[in-house]
Structures are given as structure tokens and as C-alpha cells.
């Protein structure tokens, strides 16, 4: 990518102290994100995939400046987030928005939909106060809700409608980058398509950049230009949508794709290769974090951290054995 990225994380790491340590100066730490570098171009949608506790939500919040990384830098249009102060900080906050997973828990139940969407306009002083309700009505229309919804309360709305409100709230302050943290996971299958189509339309018409986070690679692949895969806090694969889905190179990505049920009973497959049960909470970080579950593991895998090697095509993988693995099924 020749153009300057809109937002970029450079070698970010986030450690959280674990509770219950008797000796605070020797506190145990949980590494949520480790040495991840990622850049999102203007107008690009990056899918971020991983299982629970893989660090994907933490990485999303680091990019938004909501969590300070323990190490590494986040740059917005080339400027270190930490160096942005005062009025520019406010502008930066406007530019970076988030849509949450749970449309039930993320809307204040005591506020009307209109007040929820308007809040950002008031805080950032967008438009004349008298014109803001008109803008709210316009925003609701933008996400497919009738202007009458402004007078209603969150509990009166379905999950899909609430998620539309969450999107309208994020759009209100005219952002350039939106993190969608499992934006469709809590929704019924028949509603997911509507919300994905809305996000796709907003991206087209407004040139938004997005980071779409999901544990379900199927849910976000349709919208994603590129897909990054996190495992135990490390980025183990990144590439274009078709590179990751068609020619996955990391054994974990392959296992993940092989585990997705195929909606066709005539193609019922052999069970996917047995991975041991779930990720360990604190894998040995001296080597490959996937090694304890990897069907191809070799002694070399536990000795050093496999670097993310990026091919000329832009397809990157962190696996020592990537050139020796059989082609993906």
C-alpha cells in the first residue's frame, strides 16, 4: 500500500495484570495482544478473526485509543495517538467510532432513541442545536429506521433495529473509521444480512474504513477486503479475503476454516483434524502459541517465536513450517 494508512498499529502489545497476585511487584500478567502491526487504508474494510480471548476486541480498542497499549504505537493519519492533544484529540475521537456486539446492553434504556443518537451531536457541537433533531431523523432514515423511532425507547425495538440505532449513533459524528465488534453475532440469521448490507452501503457511500471483529469468519468475510487472524494475542495470518479463505497458510487458519459447518448435507465431511480442546489461558510465549494444538507441530516450533513473513502478494503467515505444509484441502 503506497498511500498513507488511515490508522495503523505498530508493534502493539497489551498486557493486563492478573488479579489475586500476592506480590504485586511480581504480578502475573496476561498478554492479550502481542507485537501486532496492522494498517488500514482509507476506505478499506479489514476483517479481524479469532476465537474468544484471542485479543481481537483489545486490538480494536487499542486502535480507537480506548486502551493504551503496554508497548507500541498507534498512528492516526500518521500521527501518534498519544501526541494528539486538546482540540485535535476531540476531533480524533469524532473520527474513530465503535459499534458494539450486544445491541441490548449498549443502548441506555432510559433514553429515547432520538436522545441516544443526538448525544454525540451535542457533545461535539455538530450543527445548530435547533437543527440537530432534523439531523437525527436523517440519520435514522440513513440506517433504515422511520423518523418515528426517535420517540421510542430501546426496549421497544428488536435486536436488528437496536443494532441500526447503534450504527446511527456511530455515524452521527461523521467518523472516518468504525470498529464493529461482533456487529452481527447477537442477531438472528435473517437479520444479519440486512445489517451487513447496510454496513456495505455506508462504506460505499461514505468511504468509511472499518475493522470488523468476529469469531465467525463467515459473518464478516463478505464485507472484508482483507482478513487478519489472531491467535492467543498474535497475528498469525493476514491476506486478501480470497488468499485467507482459498489458500490459508497457517495450520490454525486451516483448522478454523475446516471447522465451519458446510450447509450442504451431500458434502458432509470427515471430521476436521483433532485439535486439543481449546486454547490454554497462558500458552508458552517462547514459541509458537498454537504449537500445543497444532497437528503439524515439530520440536523447532516451541523454541522461538515464528515471525510473520509476508509474501510479495501481501499474504502473511507466522508459521515456521509454512513452506513445508501440504496445500490446503
Amino acid at each position: 500500500m503506497s498511500a498513507q494508512p488511515l490508522i495503523a498499529a505498530e508493534a502493539v502489545t497489551k498486557e493486563f495484570p492478573l488479579q489475586g497476585s500476592m506480590l504485586p511487584w511480581r504480578a502475573h500478567r496476561f498478554t492479550a495482544v502481542e507485537n501486532v502491526s496492522i494498517a488500514i487504508a482509507p476506505g478499506e474494510v479489514l476483517g479481524l478473526v479469532g476465537e474468544s480471548a484471542s485479543g481481537k476486541s483489545t486490538l480494536g480498542r487499542i486502535l480507537l485509543g480506548l486502551i493504551q497499549p503496554s508497548a507500541g504505537t498507534v498512528r492516526f493519519r500518521g500521527t501518534d495517538l498519544r501526541a494528539i492533544g486538546g482540540g485535535e484529540r476531540r476531533a480524533m475521537r469524532r473520527a474513530l467510532q465503535i459499534i458494539f456486539q450486544d445491541p441490548y446492553a449498549s443502548l441506555d434504556p432510559r433514553l429515547t432513541i432520538g436522545a441516544i443518537v443526538r448525544e454525540g451531536l451535542d457533545i461535539h457541537g455538530i450543527g445548530a442545536p435547533g437543527a440537530r433533531d432534523v439531523k437525527v431523523a436523517h440519520l435514522l432514515g440513513r440506517v433504515g429506521l422511520d423518523a418515528g423511532f426517535a420517540r421510542r425507547y430501546p426496549h421497544e425495538l428488536s435486536g436488528g433495529q437496536r443494532q441500526r440505532v447503534g450504527i446511527a449513533r456511530a455515524l452521527a459524528v461523521e467518523p472516518t473509521f468504525i470498529v464493529g465488534d461482533e456487529p452481527v453475532s447477537a442477531l438472528d440469521v435473517s437479520i444479519r444480512g440486512q445489517i451487513l448490507a447496510l454496513l456495505a452501503e455506508l462504506r460505499r457511500s461514505m468511504g468509511l474504513s472499518m475493522l470488523l471483529i468476529s469469531h465467525d469468519i463467515g459473518a464478516i468475510s463478505q464485507l472484508s477486503d482483507r482478513i487478519a487472524v489472531l491467535y492467543a494475542g498474535r497475528m498469525i495470518e493476514i491476506g486478501s479475503r480470497s488468499q485467507v479463505l482459498r489458500t490459508p497458510r497457517h495450520p490454525y487458519t486451516r483448522a478454523l476454516l475446516a471447522a465451519i459447518p458446510v450447509p450442504d448435507p451431500s458434502r458432509r465431511r470427515a471430521p476436521p483434524p483433532a485439535l486439543t480442546d481449546g486454547a490454554s489461558a497462558s500458552p508458552d510465549r517462547a514459541g509458537c502459541v498454537f504449537a500445543p494444538r497444532c497437528p503439524h507441530v515439530r520440536p523447532a516450533c516451541t523454541g522461538s517465536v515464528p515471525p510473520l513473513t509476508v509474501l510479495e502478494s501481501g499474504h502473511g503467515t507466522a508459521c515456521l513450517l509454512q513452506d513445508e505444509l501440504p496445500p490446503a484441502a
Binding site: I191, G193, L196, A219, P261
Partner: protein, 337 residues
């Protein structure tokens, strides 16, 4: 199928009285679960799929939201002696004996379904003492064997673990071990993999397939995920807003869905396995699920249906049209096509 069905649902209806009115959560649902058969009950939120499971388990009418439930119809269950009993008219004592012994259930959330202050070994042993009459020592030993059966490594040590010390996948294995403890005739699994990561889900589905092959039990698998249905089910029942809209073999339903809702749901599943230009592309089903307090007249799906005909679909509720191969669907338009 030559053997008589294990469970026959006949015109099962469940109404809840709420402060805001009566909710007809399940409306005249009829289908069979055969011996040694996996039936998938497919629907979205509010379709009534979990209410049906609770009705079979006898969990309605015992408290919570179920306190105000009114159930009608028949649930004919063929017990181990071959005699049919109606699960809806059982007294509390008989029901308690049946539950856990002849019918086991696995829930969605493996953390909340387990008792946090008992070890998992104790929780399995408890069931074996109550239903199989084992002594404390026998039950403890048997519990370890059951943990091994569901694929838990080092079962003797793991039996001494508390639920919070286990991963989500392991807890779900424990729940399956509990449900399977008395070798039930019917296992009801209510979205057992929804809370799990996809690689763990694949393992749990494989475990259920293996156990079913070994024990020849019947399974009622409740899900909203047609991918899982394709992997697991012999037969499929599709629910929408409390009513059955379609029933058939998994092969038939996937090859030629008859009801527009089934069609829409199948189209909404992203296909990562197809040609690259269609990666993840999904069709869009318009509209939202109806308000359970005010279901639409006629076909409950008609306001969202692109095939709906005014004067036909908004009038009478469509009856089931039966086809060869035990296929049925409820659609005015497709029945006349």
C-alpha cells in the same frame, strides 16, 4: 421407518399469559422423532423452538416464565417397556423419574447449567445415584468412566475439577456426560455449541455423532444454524413465529426448500466453500420477526415474504401440504404452484 416413533408431538400448543396479553408461543406443532434419529428443530429467536424443548422436558409450569404457561395437545413418548405415555399428563413424580433417565438435556450455556460449588465428578455421580441406584463409591467410579466417554483427557483428575476450572468446550462435554449418564432414549440439545468457538464446536458435534452411533439414542437438536443442520441432522423441522412451516429429510430440505422462509434462511448462510466471487455473499431476508403479542393474520411470514399474495396469504393460516418422502410445508403460494 418401521419402528414406531419414540416421541410424537400432536398439535402441541403453548400459550403464555403476560401482563400485556396472551402469547401463542407454540401453535399446533406436530412432528415425530424416530428411534435412532437426529431431528433438527430450526428457527430464530421467538420461533418457539426452546419452548417446545421445555414442554418435552416438563419444564413449563414449574416456575419463572413457565408459571403462566398453558399447554395443550399430546406428547406421546414410548418408554423402555414399549408403552406410550403422554408427557403432558404425567404427574410430578413420574416426570422426575423420566427426566434425566429417559430424556436428557444439554443447554446452550455450559457455565450456568453446571453447579459451581460441586465438582463435575460429583454432579455426574449424583445423577447415577438418583436414577441408576448406584452406591456413592460405584457412582464416583462410573462418573470417571463417563467423563472418559465424552473425550475428556485425564478423567480421574478432571472429575475433581470445578466448572470454573474448565474451558467452555470441556464444560459442554461434562454437560453431555451428565445428560448421557443414564443412557437416555432421547437427548434434547438446545443450541449446545452456540457459545463455543468454531473449532471446539466441530469437536462437540463429532462427539454427539459418535455417542448417537454408539447408543442409538434419538436426538432433538435445536439450532438456528443451517450449517450444523447439514452436518448432523437426518430430518429437519423449520419453525417460524411458533408454527411449523416445513418438515422433511435434511437432504430434501437443502436440495429443494419449499417454504419461502426456509429458502430465505438457507440463502442467508454465508458459503465459504463455493467459488471465490460468491465468498461469504448472503441473500437478504427483508423485515423483522413479528411481535409475539400481535402475530400477523394468515401466514405469519407473509409480511416478510416476497412471494406473498394479498387476499390469500393474509387471510387463512396455510394448512400443511404433504409431499412424498414425509415432506410437508405450509405455504398458500407454493401449494398452488
Amino acid at each position: 421407518m418401521t419402528a414406531p416413533p419414540l416421541l410424537q408431538l400432536r398439535d402441541l400448543s403453548v400459550d403464555f399469559s403476560t401482563d400485556m396479553g396472551i402469547v401463542h408461543a407454540v401453535d399446533r406443532v406436530s412432528f415425530d422423532i424416530g428411534t435412532d434419529e437426529i431431528v433438527a428443530l430450526v428457527g430464530e429467536s421467538g420461533s418457539g423452538k426452546s419452548v417446545i424443548a421445555q414442554a418435552i422436558m416438563g419444564l413449563l409450569g414449574v416456575g419463572g416464565a413457565g408459571r403462566n404457561a398453558r399447554t395443550s395437545g399430546q406428547l406421546r413418548f414410548r418408554g423402555r417397556d414399549g408403552a406410550a405415555i403422554d408427557l403432558l399428563t404425567l404427574d410430578a413424580e413420574e416426570r422426575r423419574r423420566l427426566r434425566g433417565r429417559d430424556i436428557g438435556m444439554v443447554f446452550q450455556e455450559p457455565m450456568t447449567a453446571l453447579n459451581p460449588v460441586l465438582t463435575v465428578g460429583e454432579q455426574i455421580a449424583e445423577l447415577l445415584r438418583v436414577h441408576a441406584g448406584l452406591t456413592r463409591a460405584q457412582a464416583a467410579a462410573e462418573a470417571v468412566a463417563r467423563l472418559a466417554e465424552v473425550g475428556i483427557a485425564a478423567p480421574a483428575e478432571r472429575a475433581k475439577s470445578y466448572p470454573h476450572q474448565m474451558s467452555g468446550g470441556m464444560r459442554q462435554r461434562v454437560l453431555i456426560a451428565i445428560a448421557m449418564a443414564c443412557q437416555p432414549l432421547l437427548l434434547i440439545a438446545d443450541e449446545p455449541t452456540t457459545a463455543l468457538d468454531v473449532t471446539v464446536q466441530a469437536q462437540i458435534l463429532e462427539l454427539m455423532r459418535t455417542l448417537k452411533r454408539r447408543t442409538r439414542m434419538s436426538v432433538l437438536f435445536i439450532t438456528h444454524d443451517f450449517g450444523i443442520v447439514a452436518e448432523l441432522a437426518d430430518r429437519v423441522v423449520v419453525l417460524y413465529a411458533g408454527r411449523m412451516v416445513e418438515e422433511g429429510s435434511a437432504t430434501d430440505i437443502f436440495a429443494s426448500p419449499r417454504h419461502p422462509y426456509t429458502e430465505g434462511l438457507l440463502g442467508a448462510v454465508p458459503r465459504l466453500d463455493l467459488a471465490s466471487d460468491t465468498i461469504g455473499a448472503v441473500a437478504i431476508l427483508p423485515g423483522t420477526a413479528p411481535d409475539p403479542l400481535a402475530f400477523p393474520a394468515g401466514c405469519r411470514f407473509h409480511p416478510r415474504c416476497t412471494h406473498a399474495r394479498p387476499g390469500l396469504c393474509d387471510g387463512k393460516a396455510p394448512a400443511m401440504t404433504a409431499l412424498a418422502g414425509a415432506r410437508r410445508f405450509a405455504c398458500h403460494v407454493r401449494a398452488s404452484a
